[in-house]
């Protein structure tokens, strides 16, 4: 019996007697012998609290955080500075829960920040209505697919290959449950191939999905992409990077039906991949098909401003199996960090940050393109991320280059070869305001040397020598 075990032997005996079974073995007798574990799990003996702490500390020390190296990793999650103000506000006990409450009107402050968050998301995306957030970017994309299915009942989705690979995978997984198929449209010179897009969309297509900027960092020309889809009665779902929307025209201005995205860049740290939040905004006509919870503004009996959870007839506790989603938990705490961050930046600050990102990204892009062997993977306009080709043979060669850079505490970015085999030597490089010009110069130097060393090694290997590692 350990202190963390909930039931004692005596508890177990009492439960067995209550249901009239002699032993635990008899309780599980219906499960075929072949499916049961023959021996107990090999978990080892328990550890003391001090031993567990020491073990976890040792494991944690193996991690490399973005504070331990100069990191140009992005690919959907970005290393922005998170001001202390955010921790100060989100750790207040009134807010410190990820749940939207079941007796919500008692927590007016919680509902008010949700309402303000929704207002900020609507302004940022140019959409009419926003929910109080969903789990993260990819599930927001998949949930947008379900909205489209409810809206027009068609059978197919068309997805640009510029949409984040995780989001495409999540959409394929979830939409199989309601009988949809998904087809993909390739990129051409870094952006969605307009001709292929046009021929992929027919009268069976429920929704099309495009990312702005796309996974390769390129700014998509939304107008023709949206136009072709709307002509054929398909809904348009745009997954947007919220931090670029201070500069780019909001997706709502192009007439998209749903604008979703990953909220992490807004005041949430990387935290080894999560938790974060997804934002979800749509046009008023689709409001009743929206997933998740929605805070609404109203007045009380005395005419004072107040907040409620509204349009709850969409939700599972009322609509049961026909609910617009089967999650009603928002990532309220992460979304709160998002709205605090936006308030901290302010309207002008968001634009200034965007301009700074564009300038530093342009500097890094041209400096890297000048490195011997390195070339741009596309020349489309970008905001904060871009793709290069390292002029190497395959993904393995890219990984060796990255290991060389890691030894000098530089992480040049994310290899594209994992998700885009058509770009085996591609590298996605992200810039945030935390990367100075000196950091970028360091990247150019370290990556340039690593690529040269790899090419020299590969040359030696093809000449019959040992492959360099």
């Amino acid at each position: 019996m350990t202190r963390y075990t909930a039931a004692t032997d005596a508890d177990r005996q009492a439960m067995l007697e209550a249901i009239g079974v002699a032993s635990v073995d008899e309780l599980f007798a219906d499960i075929p012998e072949s499916l049961r574990c023959a021996a107990p799990l090999e978990l080892g003996a328990g550890l003391s609290e001090a031993e567990v702490y020491a073990h976890l500390r040792e494991l944690a020390a193996r991690n490399t955080s973005t504070e331990d190296e100069v990191s140009f990793l992005g690919a959907g999650m970005y290393d922005h500075y998170v001001p202390a103000l955010i921790d100060m506000l989100t750790s207040r006990s009134e807010f410190l829960t990820p749940y939207t409450p079941y007796q919500p009107e008692i927590s007016q402050g919680g509902l008010q920040v949700m309402f303000e968050y929704q207002t900020a998301i609507c302004e940022l995306t140019g959409m009419d209505v926003s929910n109080a957030s969903v789990y993260e970017g990819p599930s927001a994309v998949a949930a947008a697919g379900y909205l489209a299915k409810l809206a027009n009942g068609r059978s197919r989705f068309v997805v640009s290959r510029g949409v984040h690979p995780h989001a495409r995978e999540t959409l394929v997984t979830l939409c199989a449950g309601y009988g949809m198929s998904v087809s993909e449209v390739p990129l051409s010179d870094g952006v969605t191939d307009l001709a292929a897009w046009g021929s992929a969309i027919d009268e069976d297509v429920s929704a099309v999905f495009v990312a702005q900027p796309n996974y390769l960092g390129a700014v998509e020309d939304l107008e023709p992409l949206v136009g072709l889809a709307r002509e054929r009665g398909a809904l348009v779902v745009c997954s947007a990077d919220p931090l670029t929307l201070g500069l780019l025209e909001p997706p709502g201005a192009f007439g998209v039906d749903v604008c979703v995205g990953e909220g992490q860049p807004l005041g949430n740290r990387l935290d080894f991949g999560g938790p974060s939040f997804g934002f979800f905004a749509t046009r008023a006509e689709h409001m009743r098909r929206m997933p998740g919870r929605i805070a609404g503004e109203t007045v009380d009996v005395d005419g004072r401003r107040g907040f409620v959870l509204t349009l709850q007839t969409r939700e599972q506790h009322i609509r049961r199996e026909r609910a617009t989603s089967n999650i009603c938990t928002a990532q309220a705490l992460n979304a709160l960090a998002g709205v605090v961050y936006l308030s901290w930046l302010g309207r002008a600050g968001l634009v200034e940050l965007g301009e700074l990102l564009v300038q530093r990204t342009a500097y890094a892009r041209s400096a890297l393109a000048a490195v011997d062997g390195v070339s741009l993977l596309h020349e489309q306009p970008v905001v904060r991320e871009f793709a290069v080709s390292l002029g190497l043979r395959d993904l393995e060669a890219v990984r060796r280059v990255l290991r060389r850079c890691a030894a000098e505490h530089v992480n040049p970015g994310h290899p594209l070869g994992f998700d885009y085999p058509e770009h085996p030597d591609g590298l996605l490089v992200a810039i945030t305001e935390q990367r100075s010009r000196a950091d970028i110069d360091l990247l150019v130097d370290v990556l340039g040397r690593a690529v040269r060393a790899e090419r020299a090694g590969a040359g030696a290997a093809s000449a019959g020598g040992e492959a360099a590692e």
Binding site: R288, T313, I318, R319, R322
Partner: protein, 129 residues
């Protein structure tokens, strides 16, 4: 309409829907009992003109402040007109369920189906059960 009422000239479906048959065309709506059970109706989205409805199958939903409920087609047919007023004034269903609160007009596919519906007394009897 505060008092229960079930006009004798209508045909009724046990899922609390009514049909007014006039030649080849029938008008559909929900009964006094249905709107009373739902409470204040806040939203209804009628199907597009041209939609084919099948008898005994749900063709739309009405949403009240506390619930969402399916609306069943009493007869098979094609929608030829919808009540455009309901988008802005869904409360017409509460105020006048057999008049201004009608939902759709349908060109009936098979007039003999009407024989399967309930008359006023038979429908009211189901409410007492």
């Amino acid at each position: 309409m505060a008092e229960a009422s079930y006009p004798p000239e209508l045909l009724y479906h046990p899922e609390h829907d009514w049909a007014r048959v006039e030649g080849e065309v029938a008008t559909f709506g929900i009964t006094w009992h249905a709107q009373d059970a739902l409470g204040e109706i806040v939203f209804v989205e009628t199907p597009a003109v041209g939609t084919q409805l099948s008898a005994n199958e749900a063709y739309t939903e009405v949403e009240s402040v506390k619930a969402v409920s399916d609306v069943f087609a009493p007869l098979t047919g094609e929608v030829i007109e919808t009540n455009a007023q309901l988008a802005a004034k869904p409360e017409l269903i509460n105020e006048d369920p057999y008049g201004e609160g009608w939902l759709v007009k349908v060109r009936i596919a098979d007039a003999s189906e009407a024989g399967g519906l309930l008359n006023r007394d038979a429908y009211v009897a189901t409410l007492d059960e």
